[in-house]
């Protein structure tokens, strides 16, 4: 091989440029801590990274939905707990414990009814919880005692194509119009006012039915709550593993990168050192 001066210089240039480029790439990995800094670094890896990120973003959103859903169910449950307690008080009165104080008890029933109305018209986050989808329509009022909402449910997204719902229809919770808990208390109140022990006692079974209805709604809600808990736990676990995959895919092995950098640096420096020796000397130095 005939080696000429320009060839040597060109080769040194080319090698130094290549080494510098390699070092820059490795340094970028060390600085960003990422193995994939642009799509062309690893096209299929980049696709996976984007898809992991979407999954993570979806999981965070599902978790948020679940948190809000659980908050709603908790609030509903405490309202229904209070409602049940109030109905139990009414039931105690329906046993007609003090026939001589019926007028007094009738007034008490009126108070309980008002408290039940407050419960049925309970607002969560400014919206009626028991008027179906018409969340700004007052479900019950004290003149007609009939339901004004619709049959809508409170729906939520809890996973990929997974929706769940809890009852928001007042009729399904507080009883159908004509036989709702207000009607029962109205009948109880009028029985007390009219001193009609039969009418009074006949409300006991109706109140039991109303309590049963609420208990079954609460049981259903508790079931939903349990599913939400399970999903939440699953997401927390799933999120962890996706984050692990994401890190595995896009994060650089910094220790490895630093070692690579050292190797490249050594190559670069030895290229420089040998080049300076080769390029300096020629026959000119010896022809004096």
């Amino acid at each position: 091989m005939r080696v000429t001066n320009k060839l040597m210089a060109d080769k040194v240039n080319y090698q130094l440029a290549r080494q510098t480029e390699l070092m820059t790439r490795t340094q970028e990995k060390i600085i960003t801590g990422k193995r994939i800094n642009r799509a062309s670094d690893d096209p299929s890896g980049m696709s996976s990274v984007l898809s992991y990120r979407s999954t993570l973003s979806g999981l965070e959103q599902f978790t948020e939905n679940i948190t809000k859903g659980k908050l709603h169910i908790d609030s509903v449950d405490s309202v229904l707990q209070t409602t049940t307690d109030l109905l139990r008080e009414a039931k105690a009165i329906a046993f007609d414990p003090a026939p001589d104080r019926r007028a007094e008890l009738a007034a008490e029933v009126g108070v309980i009814r008002q408290q039940l109305l407050d419960m049925a018209n309970y607002k969560i986050d400014g919206k009626y919880a028991f008027s179906g989808d018409t969340t700004n329509t007052t479900p019950y009022n004290s003149t007609t005692w009939t339901y004004n909402g619709d049959g809508g449910t409170k729906d939520m997204i809890v996973g990929k194509n997974m929706n769940t719902s809890v009852t928001a229809d007042g009729r399904q919770i507080f009883g159908p119009d004509g036989d709702n808990m207000f009607d029962i208390l109205n009948d109880l109140e009028s029985g007390l006012a009219l001193d009609d022990p039969v009418a009074i006692k006949s409300q006991i079974s109706r109140i039991d039915a109303a309590v049963d209805r609420i208990t079954s709604v609460r049981a259903k809600n508790a079931g939903v709550n349990k599913r939400l808990d399970a999903a939440e736990n699953h997401y927390a676990y799933y999120k962890n593993s996706v984050e692990g995959m994401l890190s595995k895919t896009e994060d650089a092995d910094v220790a490895q990168a630093i070692i690579n950098f050292k190797v490249q640096q050594t190559t670069y420096e030895s290229t420089l050192a040998t080049s300076s020796m080769i390029l300096q000397k020629s026959l000119i130095d010896f022809l004096r």
Partner: protein
């Protein structure tokens, strides 16, 4: 019979020849770093022997007027071919790397994130269908999604515009180089008709052709007179002898096509016949890659618009009216949130038909669940489609990079081969310098000796 004056003549020819040889050596040394320079050598031969009176009489040394140029036509042709390919990958790599930057999602600010945010905003709305904050968030997420589409689209079309400018500039440069080749053609033929070698002009012409080959694929051949003829794009002449033809660009539906212009000003579109060089790289990036990216982007924008509108118009807004088209536009370029919805977020339909308002969230749920549907080509979701789209861009860049690196090494190693043949080695030249200097000194001594002999003769005659 030897002749004293003949001795003087021999000395003179040796002096002149060695001086010329030193001249050539000096020129080689001077051009040690000149790109495209081929080393030269003086062809020295013995002077013709003259027979006088049955005796041989030497006439010294003489140099061929044509100075030899170390040069390998085969290598040169190969280098031109490889250089065409290098130019193509170089410009393609440059164009695609710019695109890759625009789809930069490694930091999570791109379209993928915008889509995630958009679907999540619908889920937020489903949690609280009448919430003003949720509606406003959804509106801004939608506007961000639309403007990200717009931005990507205009980035790509802007790049196509930049490429057009490159293409136009390249054709101008090609025309100028063609003119220079024609001028050199004339000079070379003028010099060589006198028996000399126009080495410097040839080096210059070869270097021009080499540079030209990086800009577009050419077919070049030298005719018997020494004219270098160049054809481009399917046999259209660019240079023939001393005449040249021009390449021009003409608008074709928003992009610049390359045309070959005949002497009678008629033009022929040669865009698709260009198969190498930077021109090919730019045109390929513009017409194949960028165009397909635009199509994919439009596909995604249109499918999202159509699907969301389909569900949204079947829903009910806060006033219990049927939903409007949520997005307007005809593609990624003008995707926008309905101006009515942008002005009044109550018009966002969260409830499904038959549901009550404001608590109904059937439509919000249905739209949020669209992200899991698989309406795109190959049965993929919007996100999957976009993710593989980014992957496609990445692998396009990767292969352009790979091809470019490979081709650079290829050209580099062929250049080394060329240097082996044509390059100047200072060591060699120094040896030649010493050699010819000694020859020159000896010739001078010869003349001195002849002079002394003549002196002695003259003294005898005196």
């Amino acid at each position: 019979m030897p002749n004293l004056y003949g001795l003087l003549n021999i000395g003179q020819s040796a002096l002149l020849t060695h001086q010329k040889a030193l001249d050539v050596t000096g020129n080689n040394i001077a051009n040690v770093n000149t790109p495209g320079y081929s080393r030269q050598r003086l062809v020295i031969k013995q002077g013709d022997t003259v027979r006088v009176n049955n005796l041989n009489m030497s006439t010294g040394v003489s140099a061929d007027p044509g100075i030899q140029r170390y040069y390998d036509q085969f290598l040169e042709d190969q280098l031109i071919n490889e250089n065409e390919t290098l130019g193509r990958w170089e410009s393609q790599k440059e164009a695609l790397e710019k695109i890759e930057l625009m789809f930069e999602d490694a930091e999570g600010y791109g379209l993928s994130t915008a889509m995630n945010d958009y679907w999540n905003a619908w889920q937020d709305l489903s949690n609280n269908p009448s919430g003003v904050a949720e509606r406003t968030t959804l509106l801004s997420a939608s506007q961000h999604l639309a403007s990200t589409f717009n931005q990507l689209h205009s980035n790509i079309t802007n790049l196509q515009g930049d490429i057009d400018a490159h293409v136009t500039n390249l054709t101008k440069e090609i025309n100028e180089m063609a003119d220079k080749v024609a001028v050199l053609n004339q000079k070379i033929v003028e010099v060589e008709v006198g028996g000399h070698n126009a080495n410097d002009y040839r080096d210059e012409r070869d270097q021009l052709v080499f540079e030209l080959s990086k800009k577009l694929d050419i077919n070049s051949y030298e005719d018997g007179d020494g004219y270098l003829n160049i054809d481009v794009g399917n046999g259209k002449p660019l240079v023939q002898g001393t005449s040249t033809w021009n390449l021009i660009t003409q608008d074709n539906g928003g992009v610049q096509d390359v045309h070959w212009q005949n002497k009678d000003a008629t033009t022929v579109n040669i865009t698709t016949s260009i198969s190498g060089g930077e021109l090919k790289g730019w045109i390929e990036a513009r017409d194949s890659f960028l165009d397909s990216y635009l199509t994919q982007l439009d596909d995604l924008a249109n499918t999202i618009r159509g699907d969301v509108n389909g569900v949204h118009t079947a829903g009910l807004d806060l006033n219990s009216n049927a939903g409007l088209d949520f997005f307007t536009g005809t593609g990624a370029v003008d995707l926008a949130v309905s101006t009515f919805i942008a002005a009044d977020t109550d018009l966002i339909a969260a409830a499904a038909a038959g549901e009550g308002v404001p608590g109904g969230n059937g439509t919000a749920i249905a739209i949020a669940n669209l992200q899991n549907s698989a309406p795109m080509a190959g049965g993929s979701t919007y996100n999957e489609y976009f993710n593989s789209f980014v992957g496609k861009i990445g692998s396009d860049v990767q292969s352009a990079n790979f091809n470019h690196d490979h081709q650079t090494t290829m050209v580099q190693s062929m250049e080394e081969h060329r240097q082996e043949v044509s390059g100047v080695s200072l060591d060699e030249e120094m040896i030649n310098l010493v050699k010819f200097q000694h020859g020159y000194n000896a010739a001078a001594k010869l003349i001195t000796t002849a002079n002394e002999m003549i002196d002695s003769l003259m003294a005898m005659a005196g």
